[in-house]
């Protein structure tokens, strides 16, 4: 239990509470995502001890998932992409005069889904780490390719564009010292590039600044809050009959979310959509879905929070991020000298337990905050003037990036990444594969080169062992499936890719 002593320190609790407040605020504000919140604050946490930093970042991550439901339910605008499916039934339920019940159910579903996925994380972390310890260079290279292939097949409407962005990310990762021979590569005499492109400025630019720049370019303000709090105000907690009704949807959300979360490259948005669809098919009242079904709200919210445990499992034990947020968290852990992967249990005993404890406490704090005066928070948060918010985020992006290495070069990298991110989002080039390529580049390169040395230059030797053969096979299958799906969508004109994705939300899904 000595690994949990950190919970006795008030500084850690302060950071957790701060993280939950920031996360709820960021999640509730349309246009600001959990990814963006974690990206903006990740540079600042290097000035505090790792445990405090983890409390802040994981608090933001967890609470933003809760907060995303607030604007999804009250103004039909998902606060985060993960809350897209919540709008399908959350807003209609709100229009029926039951916003309290919708918010209460979403909070309970989110907390239940999150806690379920943490139990799964605790159960599978050790076996997964033991399995990964047997991995050699071939397995790690295959794992990197598999992670990239999954991200490419799920992100965006075009596999070719995904491969191009992934290759560009891998290419950017080659800047700096060659990892085996120690020779400078593509640095063009710039001393700041000798250590490679810093991950944090690129992340802040791509996910923080570009989001806010798109908001600047948009003529959509935040819709006025049409909230009419009726006599239903006190009915935040569901009745027993309602709880019985939503139980199957809750179970579906838990299972779908945890499985989807463990697949690299997916995320809460996909989990929410899949769980909502599964719950509709399994429901006794499928006709109510999309018209204010409480089962729909619970399935979507449970699933988008259940992804957290699965995503953390692959991130911590395999070093492969499950989604964009865990990609940023890997960068933060590396800055603290913690390398996620099979050696994590040996090198940092207790870290996984600490992370599970932080996530659990953050979930319970978020639940308490959601159930206690949610509507007051929502009213306050959603009335924040847009220009105030934009200016605040911009200054945080700039000073946060500068703070990491006290380097203006990093600020320029962040600005360039932000502008690049705007152009890529505008023309539907997915950013996920680029980020994953940047992150997995060194792992892929070192292990491919080592594999070739071991096999005497024989590429086919990569398929000689079962695990790499299976992983590379799955990667190929998913890419081919993605190409075929794209072809079908081009022929039918269905560019959104998911049949129930509302056109107004398709950009958020990026």
């Amino acid at each position: 239990m000595e690994h949990l002593d950190f919970l006795l320190q008030w500084q850690n609790w302060l950071m957790l509470v701060l993280g939950v407040i920031l996360g709820m605020t960021i999640g509730a504000l349309p246009g600001l995502t959990a990814t963006m919140g974690v990206a903006i604050f990740s540079p600042l946490v290097f000035f505090v001890p790792p445990e405090q930093g983890l409390c802040l970042l994981l608090g933001i991550y967890n609470a933003a998932m809760f907060g995303g439901a607030i604007s999804a339910i009250l103004i039909n605008t998902p606060g985060t992409p993960a809350a897209i499916a919540t709008t399908f039934d959350g807003y209609p339920l709100c229009q029926k005069g039951r916003p309290g019940l919708a918010l209460g159910l979403s909070a309970l579903g989110s907390a239940g889904g999150g806690l379920f996925s943490f139990v799964c994380l605790a159960l599978i972390a050790r076996p997964l780490a033991d399995l990964a310890l047997q991995f050699g260079p071939r397995e790690f290279f295959a794992l990197a390719v598999f992670g990239l292939a999954m991200m490419i097949s799920f992100a965006g409407d075009s596999v070719v564009r995904g491969v191009m962005m992934g290759a560009f990310g891998l290419f950017l990762a080659t800047i700096g010292m060659d990892p085996i021979h120690g020779l400078p590569r593509l640095t063009f005499g710039v001393p700041e590039l000798m250590g490679g492109l810093s991950f944090v400025p690129v992340m802040v630019g791509l996910f923080g600044l570009s989001e806010i720049l798109i908001r600047v370019a948009s003529d959509r303000g935040v819709a006025a809050l049409p909230l009419r709090i009726s006599e239903d105000e006190d009915h935040v907690l569901p009745t027993r009959a309602e709880l019985r009704q939503v139980t199957p949807a809750f179970v579906i959300g838990c299972v779908v979310g945890t499985i989807v979360g463990a697949i690299p490259g997916t995320g809460g948005d996909l989990a929410g959509l899949l769980a909502w669809d599964r719950a509709r098919k399994a429901s006794r009242r499928p006709q109510d879905f999309g018209k204010g079904s409480i089962e729909g709200v619970v399935a979507a919210e449970t699933a988008n929070n259940s992804v957290v445990g699965g995503a953390m499992a692959t991130m911590l034990m395999l070093g492969i991020p499950g989604d964009a947020v865990t990609a940023i968290l890997i960068g933060s852990l590396m800055m603290w000298g913690v390398n996620p992967g099979p050696q994590l249990y040996q090198n940092h005993p207790g870290l996984v337990l600490r992370i599970i404890a932080i996530m659990t406490v953050a979930t319970l704090l978020s639940l308490a905050a959601s159930l206690y005066r949610t509507k007051f928070v929502a009213r306050w948060v959603l009335k924040l003037p847009e220009h105030v918010l934009i200016s605040l985020v911009m200054i945080l992006c700039v000073v946060g990036t500068y703070a990491v290495n006290a380097s203006l070069f990093d600020v320029w990298v962040m600005l360039a990444s932000g502008a690049f991110g705007v152009v890529m989002r505008r023309f539907k080039f997915p950013l996920g594969p680029l980020v994953l390529g940047l992150l997995l580049g060194p792992m892929a390169e070192i292990n491919l080169r080592r594999s070739l040395v071991i096999s005497g230059g024989n590429v086919l030797d990569l398929f000689a062992r079962p695990i790499p053969a299976v992983l590379l096979g799955f990667a190929a299958v998913f890419l081919v499936r993605g190409v075929l799906r794209n072809q079908t969508h081009v022929q039918t004109g269905d560019a959104a890719g998911v049949k129930f994705t509302s056109p107004s939300h398709s950009t958020a899904a990026q």
Binding site: T174, V216, I395, V398, Y402, V423, R426
Partner: protein, 156 residues
């Protein structure tokens, strides 16, 4: 030509430009590839992995270029998200000017002016309230980073 056709053509043009840029990136590496040996002491050298990636970039960007030339179906984009392009350009210019002025005039003064100008662009008007907010925000950020987190903001 209808506005929709115009947007679509602009979208195809931009996609082609992006594809050409990625293609050029791959070709540029091929041009300097001689500096990075493919094999060194009988093992894959520093140029091996970048060369594979450069070739992948060239092939995929070429396919994207061809797709944008020959594809018949329209590219679906959310045009309403990019109505205020002038605002975007102005904000980008201010963001670029911020680090340049920072090293010359110090963080605090630069941040106050930057925030006032950003609010001027976003709201379309100057107000003393915005100036007060800018000053308060800049001082708060400065205090937290400089004295709380000990970030050397003035050492640029």
């Amino acid at each position: 030509m209808s506005p929709t056709d115009s947007n679509r053509n602009n979208g195809f043009f931009a996609t082609r430009m992006i594809a050409v840029a990625f293609f050029a990136c791959g070709v540029a590496f091929l041009a300097v590839q001689g500096d990075y040996p493919l094999m060194l002491a009988d093992v894959p050298g520093p140029g091996f992995w970048p060369l594979a990636l450069a070739l992948t970039l060239i092939i995929t960007s070429f396919i994207v270029l061809m797709q944008s030339i020959f594809r018949q179906s329209p590219e679906v984009r959310d045009e309403s998200r990019f109505q205020r392009r002038f605002h975007l350009i102005m904000v980008l210019a201010l963001l670029a000017a911020f680090p340049l002025s920072w090293s010359r005039f110090g963080f605090l003064a630069t941040a106050v002016v930057f925030l006032i100008l950003i609010l001027r662009v976003l709201t379309g008007q100057f107000s003393w309230r915005a100036a007060f907010y800018s000053g308060a925000l800049a001082i708060s950020v400065y205090a937290v980073l400089r004295y709380g987190l000990r970030v050397p903001l003035d050492a640029v």
